[in-house]
Every structure is written in C-alpha cells, then in structure tokens.
C-alpha cells in the first residue's frame, strides 16, 4: 500500500486553514464544514481497502486469431462484487507484435463500477503479421480521495496471432512430387506411407477407399478411415527464411504457397528454422489446424538479418532431401536435392 503523502498534506493543509479561519475570524459555522471533512476519509478508506481485496482482473481476447489489417479486440475485465466504486484505477500494459518489438508503455486510467463487471475494450489495430500480445504488468487502485493507492502485480499476458490475409498474384511453381503410393507397391520411395496405423478418424470426402476401416465402419455404422504413418519424409518441404526486413512478405508468400499446395492437394511440410537453437521443426500441413499451428510456431521464431541463412543451414545440417521451396520475402525458389530448379 502506498500512502500519497502530498495528497494527505494538502488535505491536512485545508483542514488547518479551516481551523485557522475558524479561530481567527471567529466563525463557528466553519466547524460545520470540518465535520464532513474529517468524516470523508474515515468512511472511504476502509471501504476502499475492502473492495481491493475482492476485485478480480482478467484479460482476454475476443477472437482466437485475426487476419492482418484487422483489429484485435482485447478485453480488460474488472469484477467488483462490492458496493464501493473505484474511480481511479491505473492499468499498465504493453502491446506489441513479436516481430516488431516496441518499448511503448501504455497506461489506462479507468474506473470500476460497484457490484458488477466493468469491461474495457482495448482494440489493437494490426497492419503486419505476427503474434500480437498484451501484457498487463500491474494495476494501481486509488481511493476516492487519493490518500492511498494499492499496486497489484498482475503480469497477465494475452496473445492473438495475426495471420496473413489471402494474397493473389503469387505464382507457386509446379512441384516434382505428390503423395507417393503405398509401401506395398513402391516400398523404396521416399514419403511413402507405412502399414502402421497412426490413428483412426472419421471419413472425410476425398479419402482413399482403400484406407477405409471396413470392420470398424460396419460395427459402428459409420465410415472410419485409417491414418497411416509414413515410412520416410515427404518429398516436398517449404522452408521460409526468417529475415527480419522481409518477414511480413515472407509470411504472406508462405500463405500463398500453402493455399496453393492445399488446393493442389499436395502433401508437404513446412520446415521452421530456429537460428538461436539451430533446430528445424517440421510441420506437416494436412488441414486448417496444422496451418494455424504452423503460423503460431513461426511467429515464435527469432528473426535474423542474414538472407538465406535457413537455406544454408538446411543443407549444411543434412536435413531431408527432396524438393524444397525456399521462401524469402516475395521470392520463391524451388530446389531439388539442393539444386535450384526455379
């Protein structure tokens, strides 16, 4: 609890002035003013202290993700179950896009209604992709007269990924390979499916008939398919370069490639390079969830300045061979076994 000496002194000074005037000017009615003057802090401060212990704060976002150019709506929610309103509440927070860190500190002066939830919307406009987050570091509550203030350390973060919006006009080159056949037919080829069942899921239009688990489907009276493990890596890898100056374009181009490859129903995976840990992470894109996962993982990666670093590291560390689509800004390069094709 912080006591605001200056405010108390000012208040006391007015009190002393009133007493002085009362004595000097012989005006006893001033006692009438002194009465509420003494009474006010004695009433407000205990109520305030009680309220503070019962107020709950949460920060939330209205949507799980947005496309760039749209606004992320964060919500600060103060739940005050007491009768005492808090007229001055100071919330300190930072808002940033992980790709474009800024040191701006934001301070929100607001109020909290009594006996209800007070919701404050913090709209964050976006123009670039990345992980947008709000970190509420602390909340300072002031009593009605400004005598005491209580700081509550919050450190609550809320993140919302800003995904790229659909981009047109980017030409994705034709890839050399799609899904391979089953291992039984061409067992040596890379990217083939193994006979091991990874999981059983409901049938989706487009699934191969040979993958239907007939027995189970008959039992449960619904179609189920077997999801097979793969015997080896897929033949197509998309490798985005995390260069800081082109990251926005890179992600947008990546989005265009993913959309295009999905449209072509090609199986591929996105390789994410973390230059700090020198690790590669592969994400197989086989649905919307994986695409979303891919972006989220990508947004947490550190950026670097050297162009082509991921590409060099990819081949230097002996990662999977096959077709690789390198993405850097709006440039798309297709490599096969390390050789630039397009």
């Amino acid at each position: 609890m912080k006591i605001n000496i200056l405010n108390i002194l000012l208040y006391a000074a007015v009190f002393v002035i009133l007493i002085f005037l009362m004595i000097v000017f012989k005006q006893n009615y001033l006692l009438f003013l002194l009465f509420p003057y003494v009474l006010l802090p004695a009433v407000t401060i205990p109520f305030f202290l009680r309220s503070i212990t019962r107020i709950k704060f949460t920060v939330d976002a209205a949507t799980a993700y947005v496309e760039s150019g749209n606004t992320v709506n964060f919500k600060f929610l103060f739940d005050n179950p007491t009768f005492c309103p808090i007229l001055r509440c100071r919330t300190e927070f930072t808002a940033e896009n992980a790709f474009y860190p800024n040191k701006d500190e934001h301070i929100l002066e607001s109020f909290i209604y009594p006996k209800k939830k007070t919701e404050i919307k913090i709209p964050v406009e976006t123009s670039k992709v990345g992980m947008v987050s709000i970190l509420v570091s602390q909340i300072k509550f002031h009593d009605l007269l400004g005598f005491v203030s209580i700081v509550k350390e919050i450190n609550t973060r809320c993140e919302v990924p800003v995904l790229p919006c659909s981009v047109t006009g980017i030409k994705v080159p034709a890839t050399p390979s799609g899904d391979g056949p089953d291992e039984y037919s061409e067992p040596d080829l890379r990217g083939n499916l193994s006979s091991d069942v990874k999981e059983i899921r409901e049938y989706r239009p487009g699934d191969r008939l040979q993958r239907i688990h007939w027995k189970l489907s008959a039992k449960l009276d619904d179609l189920f398919v077997k999801e097979m493990d793969r015997t080896s890596v897929l033949s197509l890898v998309v490798l985005p370069e995390m260069t800081s100056d082109k990251i926005d374009d890179t992600v947008k181009t990546l989005k265009a490639i993913i959309d295009e490859l999905c449209k072509r129903e090609e199986r591929f995976e996105v390789c994410l390079y973390n230059n700090k840990t020198c690790e590669f992470k592969y994400i197989v894109i086989d649905g919307e969830e994986t695409v979303f996962d891919c972006y989220v993982n990508l947004f947490y990666l550190p950026l670097y300045d050297t162009p082509g670093l991921a590409h060099e590291a990819y081949y230097a560390s002996g990662q999977k061979n096959g077709a690789v689509i390198g993405v850097c800004g709006t440039d798309i390069n297709l490599y096969s076994e390390g050789t630039l094709i397009v």
């Binding site: 012989k26 005006q27 800024n102 929100l108 109020f111 209604y113 009594p114 406009e125």
Partner: protein, 838 residues
Amino acid sequence: MLKFVEKKANQKELDRNGIRVGEISDGKNHHRALICLVKGLMVFLACYGAIFGMIEPFEISFNRTAVILAILFISMYVAFFYYNKIIFYIGYFILFAGFVIGLVRYFLYANSGFQAIINVVFEKYSDHFKLLALRESQETITNRYVTVTIALIFAAVFLSLLLNITISGYMNIIETVLITFPLLEIPLYIGLRPPLFTLIALLSCYICVGVLQSSKHSRMSVKGLNYHEYARAKFRGKKYYAYQSNAKLNFIVLGASLCVAAVICIFSYGLYLNTDEIPGRSKIKENTDDAIKTFVQVGWTGWLDRYSSVGGLSNGRLGGVSSIRPDFETDLTVTFAPYSYQTVYLESFKGSMYHDSSWFENSYTLDESSNMIPVLVQEQIDVFDEKASMNALKDSVSSGKMWVENKGAESGKLYQPYRSLRENIKNVTEDANGRINVSEVPTGTDNRKFYGQTLEYEFSPITYEEYPVREDYTSENADYDDYVRNQCTFVPSELSEFLDSYLEENDNLGIKSPSSYDDINDYRLSSAKAIYSHFLDEYPYTMSPGSTPQSKDYVRYFLETQKRGFCSHFASSGVMLLRELGIPARYVEGYCIPLALLDENAAGVDFDYNKWHSGKSFVTEEGVLTVDVNDSYAHAWIEIYLEGYGFVPFEMTPPSFEEAATPAFGGFGNIFANLTLFNLNVEGPEQNQATNQDQFGFLKLKGLISSSGMSFGPILGLLAFILLAGFFLIFGRKIYEAVRKRILYKKGMYMDLVYIKYNNFVRLLVKKGIVKPGTNFPMDICSSLTKYTAIKEMYPDFENLFKYIEKELYSKEKGTATEYNAFCDGLNRLSKMINKFK
C-alpha cells in the same frame, strides 16, 4: 486538419510497430447528452446554493420560482455546450447575444435590482457593525420584487457560465469553491445563516466535484474531430488513456454526494445555527472588519488608501486616502468654559516642512542629496511659539482652564488649546470616592504618555483680533528666526514654479503688493483671506475627492486637477500659496470645537465658573461645559506668522455643502451601475472642461446614443473587447505557429515542418483546382503537376521536392538542415509559380 495529422501519425505508428492501440472504450454507448445532463445538475446545485444561500438570509422579496426555473434552464443550457463543437460555438453566441440584448432591454431593472441587493446587504452590515454613516445606491425602479428577480436571473446566467467551465470543463473543486463560497460568506460573516437546502445543494456539489476531481477523470473536452472517449496524452514516453466522463458514474457519485450532504447538514444543523462567536480577540479579524467597514462606507477605493481613512489625524501624510470615513467615536472629551462664539482649536501636529506630498513637524534643512537634516526640534519650536504668544499677551488679563481627556485619539500626542504653556500642564485624576485631584506632572515626565487620562491646560482665551499690538516683540533666538523667515516660507522649487504661474493665471487672487499696506500683518491676513475666498468660489469641499497619485504633488494635483477636497487639501494649498507670496505660514492638524458642536452635544458641568475662566468673555451665558469630540471634528487649518504675535490660527477650509452620504456611484458595488446607466452623475473637472470643446462631435454622438436608450461606454467597451478577442484569436494563433515552427527547426524536427509546409501547399493546389480535395500523397500530387508544362519548363527538377517530402514523411531517415532549407526554397518557388495561375 487535426484528423489528417492524427491519421498520419497513426499510420506511421502502424508501419513501425505493426500494431497500434486504437480507440479504447467500455463497449457501451455513452450518451453525451446524459453526461451533459448530470453535469448540468451539478452546475444547477452549485448556482442555486450560491445565489439562494446568499440572498435568502437578507430576507429580500423576489420571485423564487422564476429564479429557480431560470437557474435550472441556464445550467442545463450551458452544460450542453459540451455536447459537441457546433453546439459549443452556437450556444455561446446565442447566450452572449441574449445576455447583451437582455441587458440593453432590462438594464434599468437589473441595475436597480443590484442596487437594491447592495443596499439591503449594506444595511445589514451597517447594523452589524453599528456604522453611523452608510453609502446608499440609487434605485431607479423602486419595485424591488421585480428588479431583484431580474437582477438574480442575470447573476444566474453569469454564475452558471463560470461554474459550467469549472465543473463541466475542468471538474475543479478549488475554482468551484472560489466562485460560490464568497457569495455564501456575505451573510455568514455577519452571523446570518443561509437555509438548510441551499447548504445541502452546495455541499453535495463540493463533495461530488471533489471526489470526481481526485479520481482524475470527469473532465469533458468538447467533442470535436480529435475527440476520444478515453483522452489520450503522451508523457515521459508513456501513453496515457484516461476516461473523460461517464454519465452513470457521475450520476452515482452525485447521488451519493447528495445523500452524504443531506445527512451531514441535518445532523449538524444545530451546530451550524449556533451564532455564538468564538471567544478571544483576533487582530486579523479586526483588520478584516475594518476593511469591510471601509468598503461599506467608502467603497472599494478605500482599500487603496495608503493609510487609514478613518477620521482622525493623518499627521502630515497627504493624498493617501480617497475618502474620509469618520467612525463618529469619541476621540476627546473636552471640559472648558466657553468664552467666544468662535471655533476653539486644539492643536496637535504642526507641519513646518513640506516635502514629497507630506508635512514634517521639525524644522529641516535639505542637503544636496535631498536628505532632510533637522535643525530645530519640535520641542524647541513649541517653546518659542509659546513664548511668542505669551509675550504678546503679557498684559492680557483673561485666563482659562481646559481639561482634555484622550479617549480615542492617537496616543503619544498632546491636544492643547492655543496660548497654553506646556510648563503648566497638570494631570487630573479621580479617586474611588469620585474626588478629583489635580497634580503637577513630575519634572521630566513626557506629557505625551498621558493617554487615556485627563490633562489640564491653562491658556489665555483670546482671539487674534483682540491681540494687543506689541511692536517691540522680537524673537530671542536666531535659530527660531531662521525657522520662521526661511523654513516657514520654503516652497519646493518645482511647486514654486507652478504656484507662480497659478497665481499669475488667477490675477494674483486679487492680492495687492505688500507695499500697499501700512502694516505687514494686514498684508498677510488679507492675503490669507483672498486665498480663502478663492477656494470658496472655485474649490468645493468633499470628503471623497479621490486619492492623489503617488507620482503627483499633493498641492499641485489639488489645485490643477482634482479641484475639490477636504481640510488638509485647503490647508496645505493655502500654506503653500502664502509661502509663495513670502508669508510665513505652516500647516496644523488637531481637533476643532465649533459652536454647533457645543450647541448639540455639550453638557453643563457643575464647576465653579470663576475657577475656569477669568477676564473678558464674549458669550452671554457663563458656565462650564463638557463635550465629546468625535473624529469627524479632526481638522487641518493653517497658522500665519504675524509680526509681534507669533503663529496665529487661520481657517482655510470653506464650509461643506455636501450631504453626509457619499455619491451613489463610484464604489465597487456600483460597477454594474456604471456600466449600464445612461448618465453617471459624478462629473469630474476634466469632464467639465471637455464639455466646452467638442471639436470632433464626440459628445454629440454620445448624446445621440444616450437619447436612443443605449449606453455609450459599455458599447465601446464591448466593441473593444470583441476586437481584442478577435485579434488574439487570429494573430495569437499565427504567432503561436511561428514560434512553434522556430522551435521545431531548432530541435531539428524537420518532419513536422515539412508536413506543415506541405499541407499548406496542398491547400493552395486545391484552391487553384490543380488537385482534387482529398489528394494528399506526395507522388499523386507530383504526377498531377507534371501535366503542367509551364512548371516543368520553369522548374524542371521539382519532382525532387516530392521525393524529399516522401522521404521525410514516410521513411525512418532523417533529413538535414541543408536539405530542409533547399526544400523550403524550392517549395516557395513552386508556390509562387502556382499562385500566378489563374
């Protein structure tokens, strides 16, 4: 423009950070009308509490319903100024116009109403302080019920306007209290208690405003283009968002404040009604009381007095008070046996040396550095004065006795009759049995310490007309001779020049040369009489002549400019004119006992007359009288040195023909009257002169306006105010912009400067029809200009200008001063070319 700037800055932030915190809100529709309504209620409570709290205790009759409705309407009206900018400007204009029209239409009613309120308040104050004299303002219309109602409505407009700024605009408790509480203090100061409901209204407003202010919110800026629900500010690199106002919250706080105020007022009302004064004395309270008395009796100009204006002696200080304000309290109680119908003078202060608009008692000489060095102290002068007069009366057989008790006159002074000897002063005391003892004052005791006691003086009761001629009298002391011949004829050189010309202009006041008189004393007396006659004809007596500016000489200002005054004006000027004529004279202050005072206030005392007077008497009835002399009998006169007789008193002040009350116009309370009345009935000497010459017909015009029912002064003042306000609005902004540009340039913030210049340039292009409104981007404008071959021919590389603008506004690179200067030159060149386009 502001919107565009904001947009630009927002875009920049978005480009830099990829994000930007937008318009924060609590997701609810905040009806501004509701906020204005709640604030209007606050304004109403404050205005109602102040006006009714002030007026009700004085029991003035007026239409309460009309005033309450007017306050409510005006409070709501002004509170809605903050709804948005259009309403703000239109609303102010309508209010201002309405106020002026109303004032012109009802000024006589409003003015009379204010005068009525002032009169009632002054009456109550006069009763409280037991003042005998009172200023009274003139009420042109006597129906107080109507006039006070109208005056209060005007007051409500003015007060609501102020309170709306302090409450709706700033939500500031100190300003609110400063505006309203002084009004409440008017009755409270004299123990009159405003009614309970006015206190509840005012107290609830104070609590509400105080709490909302301490929450650092609830200010409400006028809704304009750059309005945000959460006001934005940037301080020390941090971005602040603070909610401005919230109707629901304001309503909750106002409701709670009303409840708290009601509880407090109801429970402590008994305490509040108690009018017993807190015991003890307070110097500050006494001074404040004095100031209030001065205001009630003299007006606010009394506060500018350089010393007390309460009647009494000023001890040679001149021109520092605008009015004399007698308190009519007894200063001296004098007991003596009257011997003549002439005024009896009790001398106390003798001014010998006039310097810097003041009289000094001792005889002084001025050295080169203008320092005054005393050459003859007052005690010595007094001794020689007394010797001179006693020598002259050596053969006189009349003798008298006088008791003077100092009850309220200045301490440390003697108030002694003429031709009395200090050596013979005795102390009169009364024992427990009422027996009176007269004792010799022990040798070496300072007589002036007998304050509050009675002193007995022996004197020769004779008037100068009856002085026996003693041609053989000569002073025994060369210093005293020098004092009389040189010091008492000394006139400061600057004043001397003026007096010469003054006498010349006035034909020497009809005074003949000394050679035409056989006796020099005749010359001196006839000169004094001529000056007196001149004053009687030309200079009216008044107790409120106004103070003398500190830079002006008191005598010159009186003779030349003021041309009216009270006793010290006449006495000082008379002495100076006599001295200019070479006649030794000096200035005296003391108390006078005229026959009228004896007639009205004297009481007979059962003393043996023969012990109080012996010798010649000019009165028919013999007896000893005691009389209370109050401060209105404090006086200033002159003494002329007559050869053979010493200094003899001479009355230089013409009789007063003015009424006891001071003029109705001129005080602080009458400012409104001075603003609105057709004719001001105080006409200074300068105005008198002005009427003689109206070369440019101003007075004719003034008369025309006056006859049309409008007042000249206020209209001129209003026009001047509007002109001044207009000047500051137009040029103030330009000056501000120029200074801002200079600062930006010095700080190297070229981006902002480029933006300002570019924006002006775009406006020019839009005005000339070269680009369409809304075209803002530099390269768009550049491509528009490329169509004009004339520009291309005269300024082939003008595209560089736009490249520079684009670089400065949209990139992170900072330009240099050289680049900026080149840009300025280029843009000026381009602007000149475009200006020539038709």
